[in-house]
Homo-oligomer: 248 residues x 2
């Protein structure tokens, strides 16, 4: 099975990396909308318009399904994409919620922290799904500064530490942190440590588990080639991909 991956920029490479390592796919075609990145502070109407342009691209591409890596798109424009796509389109919202459920110990007493872009948090999509699991203790906060910090490759150090303090210092310690933005897996360890060691949920790993379960795909490919496309500066995306450990 050939999979397309759509993202607003380079962040979705964290999801593409999980897909590449999964052995479930024969080929990956990644498209990042680097000419208009980031989507996280933008309107639903704008994000939907951009997402439908991506649908047009993937409708004509040699892929069997499309994974939306970007959380902002997954919570604001997934239905519109599904409506106009000629192949199945999967977002990261359901997989993230499934991963939370499968931690095994989610009860009323579990305290969940959701961190994401402003648009993702404002949509309420994660909050509604997680409340539906019976979780009663939840914080959901927009942490937009983590995105440029990761893009500047400041994966640790005083700027990240001060930014975590800025966003987290007034929160009660969570049991699990749902990383609701593709950039955040790159600072997952630091976030877990900030809270003294907590579980984190990574969209890419969650997506692999979800696809394996829902499509009943066997792990059969030792190597999955990835083709990288972007609306500008594809060379920069390829450099980031290598830097983040994908095999080009």
């Amino acid at each position: 099975m050939k999979v397309g991956v759509f993202d607003s920029g380079v962040g979705g490479l964290t999801v593409a990396k999980s897909l590449q390592q999964s052995g479930l796919f024969s080929e990956i075609t990644y498209f990042g909308d680097t000419a208009r990145v980031p989507y996280g502070n933008k309107d639903k109407a704008t994000v939907t318009r951009y997402a439908l342009e991506a649908v047009e691209f993937f409708n004509g591409a040699d892929v069997d399904c499309v994974v939306v890596a970007c959380n902002t798109v997954s919570v604001t424009a997934l239905e519109a994409m599904q409506q106009f796509s000629n192949k199945p389109v999967y977002g990261v919202l359901e997989p993230g919620v499934m991963a939370l459920q499968q931690l095994g110990t989610v009860t009323k007493q579990t305290r969940v922290l959701i961190i994401a872009t402003r648009s993702t948090i404002a949509s309420g999509a994660y909050q509604h799904r997680i409340q539906a699991l019976g979780v009663e203790q939840m914080d959901a906060i927009a942490t937009p500064l983590f995105v440029p910090i990761v893009e500047e490759a400041l994966f640790d150090g005083p700027i990240l530490q001060e930014t975590m303090r800025h966003y987290f210092s007034s929160l009660t310690k969570p049991d699990v942190v749902l990383l609701g933005c593709t950039h955040f897996p790159l600072i997952a360890e630091q976030i877990a440590q900030y809270f003294g060691g907590v579980a984190t949920i990574h969209s890419g790993e969650a997506m692999v588990a979800w696809l394996q379960q829902h499509l009943e795909l066997p792990k059969q490919y030792a190597q999955t080639p990835i083709r990288i496309l972007a609306s500008e500066n594809v060379e920069a995306v390829k450099r980031t991909a290598k830097h983040w450990g994908l095999i080009l």
Copy 2:
């Protein structure tokens, strides 16, 4: 005289504020490309394409000239804009360099620090112009994290302090800092203080001085109305404008 102001998003409101306070113009029409902001990490080709779309808008708008508030556009796409515009287009590069000259004491020994987005620094435009003034001691660094920090309204505090340390700690103290991005005037005081009190050059003020000198405009308007347009979420731009002290 009616002036159009083009910017990639909200940052150019710092320039629009200077124009509004100048008394030189009867009316301001501001257009921010919020649907595709930021431009600062994007390619010259992409920025030029977006800038030419703005030209198309201003060609049909009721303005007598266009001010490009965005430094990234001013250094990468000004000539293309001038080529296709049916009215004069002014960028912030020349005014910034003129403001530096008019500080009066620029000599070989003056140490200038230029801070801007990645694209603006990479273009070398400020560096070439300032070298042409005979300045021999110059640092030019990309400080992209200041942009989201200002957009998050973190005008002071530990995140800004750590970010200044990150960018500035290895530099020799400058005599003057050229703020080569529209967002930076909002943290000009903190930057000046970081270096123990230095002069800073603000694109908006520099543009007013330059326009007054080159167009010989009299200061005649007690109040300049501003019309704000944006490629998405114009209400958010208006809120920022009020917050930053423009009179709507």
